[in-house]
């Protein structure tokens, strides 16, 4: 019974898009977290950079190739 519930839950995330030949990115669209705490945490603390800030940050973050 428990197993069935889990599989059923999985269907919530992915439906049967893969079987219909939809790409995995479409599957990603369907990921919906149930953990409401994560949303609460994100609302409080995450500062999303602007596009310009993000570009500058990415340029700064360039690394040397390592091992």
């Amino acid at each position: 019974m428990e197993e069935r519930t889990r599989f059923a839950r999985r269907e919530v995330y992915f439906d049967s898009e893969q079987d219909l030949g939809v790409s995995h990115n479409a599957g990603l669209e369907q990921i919906r977290a149930q953990a409401s705490e994560i949303e609460q945490v994100l609302e409080k603390i995450v500062k999303v950079p602007t596009e310009e800030q993000a570009r500058k940050e990415l340029l700064d973050s360039q690394q040397e190739s390592g091992q």
Binding site: R9, F14, A33, A35, I38, L42, L58, D60
Partner: protein
């Protein structure tokens, strides 16, 4: 009795080591070519440790820093670095390396890009250095996956402390950022390597005799990314475009096996470097370069623990060739690029499996291995590893996101980024998304997404604060890291001649009636499983001097290696050319003696011919 003459079993405890590179840069500096080297230098300076080279290097290093700011810091470090390298005879021509350094600092100074300025930590027996512009953390050898996890988070704490200290000294507007990830999104990757102690026979089986052992291991690694992946936005290295993938490193694997680590990276690395001194023909080190830098406790624990079990199985030839993938290289990429976990990969038997299904088969085999008692004395807490592995695979099978996001980095990252993207209407290929990817792995607890989740109780923790803090200040008790740390603590840093994983060499003063002579004393720690707390604690406590303690430890585990040399020449060499080692001096005098002997012989011959 020397270590070499002892008999060692072909089944060894799976001691874990790790050498882990971090992403580092200075935000707000904007130097052409990047700021990774400057950031790594600043971080390295703030970590207390003893130089693995000569004390001379350490002195110059300190003095130079006292008078200079970070802007000039690269120059100061390079000067002492060049001294160290000259000492070690590692480079003869510095010009080849100077170009690399000068574009970062503006100084034409020598710079050796690999394992540079290695410092061993007397606090816990690990070490830190700069490797190709990255701060590299080399964790002390540990026996269990739990210890590895605690030690890994302890090192992150040490780095964070260094980051805070270094940031205080930077000019306004600049800030050092440390990323616990494996790629910068521009096609540059850096590693998170795990090392496992294996028998020489096992190494030969893997790389020289039994190809199926190698393929079995490669199959395990390729499919393990479902629980060891750190997640990444986008793809690199010319791989097909994808919005999000499971592994940071999958894009960079280009061959199955090889010794190289910086180009055409192999899934299984064949580097033959045991770091076990004279026991090289008995022990070997499996240098595993495959994994990602993970922050979640469960992911890091399983990465080390499950690999311990798999490596032990290979060592004891407990493998099933039917599990071998037809093309592990292709499988890594396919599995990584499908976060829905539905992609199937084909084994050599012709059957196709999903990644977690193959892992389930590895688990079944490992279960039999452990049940037969083959992991006893080889992998600590094997039962705990198996049960967590089994539970995580079960959760992967039903894609239980609630539980998985508390355990696996790639799921947590995907969930977070996805939610932020939804709220802010971001596209996957936008710079903001990639920036959030980096932000997940930022070491700064104020903006690192992982740390924010950890603080709010959204991740499952396997080791507590006390265990982590213990490894910040203390070495592991069950390996040679204990002796290394304890001896370094007792030594004056300036008397340390050299430190490496398997040897510590230091100068000892011998006071005679009218003069003082010096000698080099070394402790050879060839056996990584030896020199534990149980073996060393009493000896170190009860001996009158460190030299005597080392003598006891050497005779109980290996022969004493003491090399006399002239004190005055050593002082001279310390000022000018500290590179002239006792061995070289010995060779020099031997050549001199031979020349004198030749002259005497020639004279005798002449006399005889005249007579």
């Amino acid at each position: 009795m020397s270590n070499r003459n002892k008999t060692y079993p072909d089944v060894l405890p799976k001691i874990i080591g790790a050498d882990i590179e971090l992403g580092n840069y200075i935000r707000g500096r904007g130097a052409w070519g990047g700021t990774s080297f400057s950031a790594a230098s600043a971080l390295l300076y703030e970590i207390n440790g003893i130089s693995s080279g000569k004390a001379y290097t350490y002195k110059v290093y300190e003095r130079a820093w006292q008078n200079q700011s970070y802007v000039h810091y690269g120059n100061a470090q390079m000067d002492c670095g060049s001294g160290y390298l000259r000492d070690q005879g590692k480079v003869s021509d510095y010009s080849a390396f100077s170009q690399n350094a000068s574009w970062q600092t503006g100084y034409q100074t020598p710079y050796y890009c690999r394992d540079w300025q290695r410092k061993f930590l007397p606090s816990n027996g690990g070490c830190v250095y700069i490797d190709l512009g990255h701060l590299e953390l080399a964790l002390p050898e540990v026996l269990s996956a739990r210890e590895h996890l605690a030690s890994w988070h302890a090192f992150l704490r040490i780095t964070r402390k260094a980051q805070i200290e270094a940031n205080r000294k930077l000019p306004p507007g600049e800030e050092i950022v440390v990323l616990v990830n494996n790629s910068d999104g521009f096609g540059h990757s850096y590693g998170s390597h795990l090392n496992f102690l294996i028998s020489r026979r096992c190494f030969e089986n893997l790389f020289e005799r039994k190809l199926h052992h190698l393929l079995f291991f490669a199959t395990y690694l390729a499919t393990s990314i479902v629980f060891t992946g750190a997640g990444k936005v986008g793809s690199e290295n010319g791989r097909p475009h994808v919005d999000f993938q499971i592994s940071q490193r999958a894009d960079f694997y280009e061959c199955l096996v090889g010794e190289q680590t910086t180009y055409r990276r192999p899934i299984v690395n064949a580097r033959n470097e045991s770091l076990c001194g004279s026991l090289n023909d008995k022990f070997a080190r499996l240098h595993c370069i495959f994994f990602d830098n993970t922050l979640c406790h469960v992911s890091s624990f399983l990465k080390a623990g499950v690999t311990q079990i798999i490596v032990a199985m290979i060592e004891q030839e407990f493998i099933d060739p039917c599990l071998i993938l037809e093309d592990p290289l292709e499988a890594v990429l396919k599995i990584s690029q499908d976060p829905t976990l539905r992609v199937r990969t084909r084994t050599i038997t012709g059957k196709s499996y999903k990644a977690f299904e193959l892992q389930q088969k590895f688990l079944d085999l490992a279960g039999k291995f452990v049940a037969r008692g083959k992991a006893l004395g080889v992998v600590p807490e094997a039962g705990e590893i198996l049960s967590l592995w089994a539970d995580t695979l079960e959760k992967l099978q039903c894609f239980d996101i609630e539980v998985l996001s508390r355990r696996l980095d790639w799921v947590l990252k995907l969930l977070l980024i996805r939610k932020i993207a939804d709220k802010n209407k971001l596209k996957w290929d936008s710079a903001r998304m990639k920036s959030l990817d980096h932000q997940y792995s930022s070491l700064n607890p104020e903006d690192g997404l992982y740390w924010l989740c950890e603080q709010n109780g959204l991740v499952e923790k396997l080791v507590n604060e006390k265990e982590i803090e213990n490894f910040v200040h203390n070495p592991p008790a069950s390996t040679r890291a204990y002796a290394r740390a304890e001896i370094l603590r007792r030594l004056d840093p300036h008397s340390v001649f050299s430190v490496d994983w398997d040897r510590i060499k230091f100068r000892s003063k011998n006071r005679k009636l009218f003069w003082t002579s010096y000698s080099l004393t070394s402790l050879d720690m060839d056996n990584p499983a030896g020199f534990t707390k149980a073996a060393c604690e009493d000896v170190l406590k009860n001996s009158d001097s460190l030299e005597k303690a080392v003598a006891i430890l050497n005779t109980s585990n290996c022969c004493l290696n003491e090399q006399p040399f002239h004190p005055s020449s050593s002082q001279k060499s310390e000022k000018k050319t500290p590179s002239l080692s006792a061995e070289k001096r010995f060779l020099f005098f031997r050549i001199l003696r031979r020349k004198r002997r030749d002259i005497v012989l020639r004279r005798k011959m002449r006399k005889r011919s005249r007579s």
